[in-house]
Amino acid sequence: MPVPSPSSSDPSQPLPDAAPRPCPRSPADLFWSFTWLALQGFGGVLAVVQRELVEKKRWMTNEEFLEDWAVAQIMPGPNVVNLSIMIGDRYFGLRGALAALAGMLTLPLLLVLALAVVYARFSAQPAVAGALRGMGAVAAGLIAGVGIKLFASIRNHPLGRALCALLAGLTIVAMAVLHWPLYWILPIIGGAACVLTWRRIAP
């Protein structure tokens, strides 16, 4: 992980960088933090991870979050699960990775089982279907809001804002309009972005 930029990227963060960076106290802290994250994550945990870990707990900056998320996305497996392994490992090694992973999965798994058991009884209720629809709309907005916020945070990016916006736009078109599979988008657009960045950060 690169050294965080000297000036904190988010003006809404009053914390000076000189202050010691908050970090989880123990694997148990990691476990409960990720449990709490997962339990808030309706329709995807990503928005919650950014809100809790970057803005509330300040364990990482927006830039670090983006970098970790890129790796979590590239690796096979569920993104948020990969992210919890990566963050857990950074603080407490394998123990931390397992604690974060267990936190992300244990209680939500029990909850989803309980839901499945009662689902059949209430699935026909129009109010239940409506509530799910409303939550789905909110979930879409959550992800978009995080995307915009993260874009606002990359002003120190070596490629500059205009080029970043272009690359992000190309990705949106490739995925949402052209329906490219991810195994094309990542090597083609992602590869180009990495090569460009590699040239810009020449020592």
């Binding site: 490992d89 799910l132 992000a168 990705t171």
Partner: protein
């Protein structure tokens, strides 16, 4: 049990799930299937759902179509990572094999454990090893270029995901309240510190009242 029998049972009621007869080899195959799928799940487990449907529903008839769809819908609606739909698929295979009594719960737990372990183990191990390698080599120019260069692409993927989810709302002219709700949520997340659960609660309430 043949697919035809399963389908016949399904039409009666989803609750009256067929009783499967699964031997140890079947459970082993289920585990191996998920092991092999794990490393293919680039871009999230949900991207491999079509293949799971092919294997579980079409090829082996271990699950019915409604069970498969409901498993995904419930996992999407529930909090937590979406990969939990894999656990529900395994659970339902066990329920189908054991019936609704204690045997069903036992086999359900077995199916759930096999599917989750299979789908999580290889990818998690690989991620863990890659993280360690990346962290040791974090000052390398190539590693930095990769992590920073991917940032705009990741942002694009997020916005595209949101778009794909929102598009399921339907026609903007007819379903504009849903689009409005999505747009309002986006603004709230971007500009305020309002807790995300309030927004989800409001969405659920508006939906339950039939307003969106």
């Amino acid at each position: 049990m043949s697919a035809a029998e399963v389908n016949a049972a399904t039409t009666v009621a989803a609750a009256a799930a067929p009783l499967l007869n699964l031997g140890p080899m079947d459970w082993l195959h289920l585990f191996l299937y998920y092991l092999s799928l794990s490393l293919l799940a680039v871009g999230g487990a949900i991207a491999t759902a079509p293949d799971m449907h092919r294997y579980l529903v079409e090829r082996n008839a271990w699950l019915t179509d409604p069970q498969f769809s409901a498993s995904i819908a419930i996992a999407q609606a529930a909090p937590g990572p979406n990969v939990l739909f894999v656990a529900l698929l395994g659970w339902n295979v066990g329920i189908n094999a054991g019936g609704s009594g204690a045997a069903g719960w036992l086999l359900g737990t077995l199916g759930m454990a096999l599917c989750m372990l299979g789908v999580m183990l290889p990818s998690s191990l690989l991620t863990w090893l890659a993280t360690r390698w990346g962290h040791r080599n974090r000052e390398r120019r190539a590693v930095r270029a990769f992590k920073q260069g991917m940032a705009p692409v990741v942002i694009g993927l997020l916005l595209a995901t949101s778009w794909v989810l929102a598009r399921a709302h339907g026609v903007p002219a007819l379903d504009w309240p849903l689009w409005l709700l999505t747009a309002a949520t986006m603004l709230l997340v971007w500009r305020t510190k309002l807790h995300l659960l309030w927004m989800l609660g409001a969405g659920a309430l508006l939906g339950a009242l039939g307003l969106v």
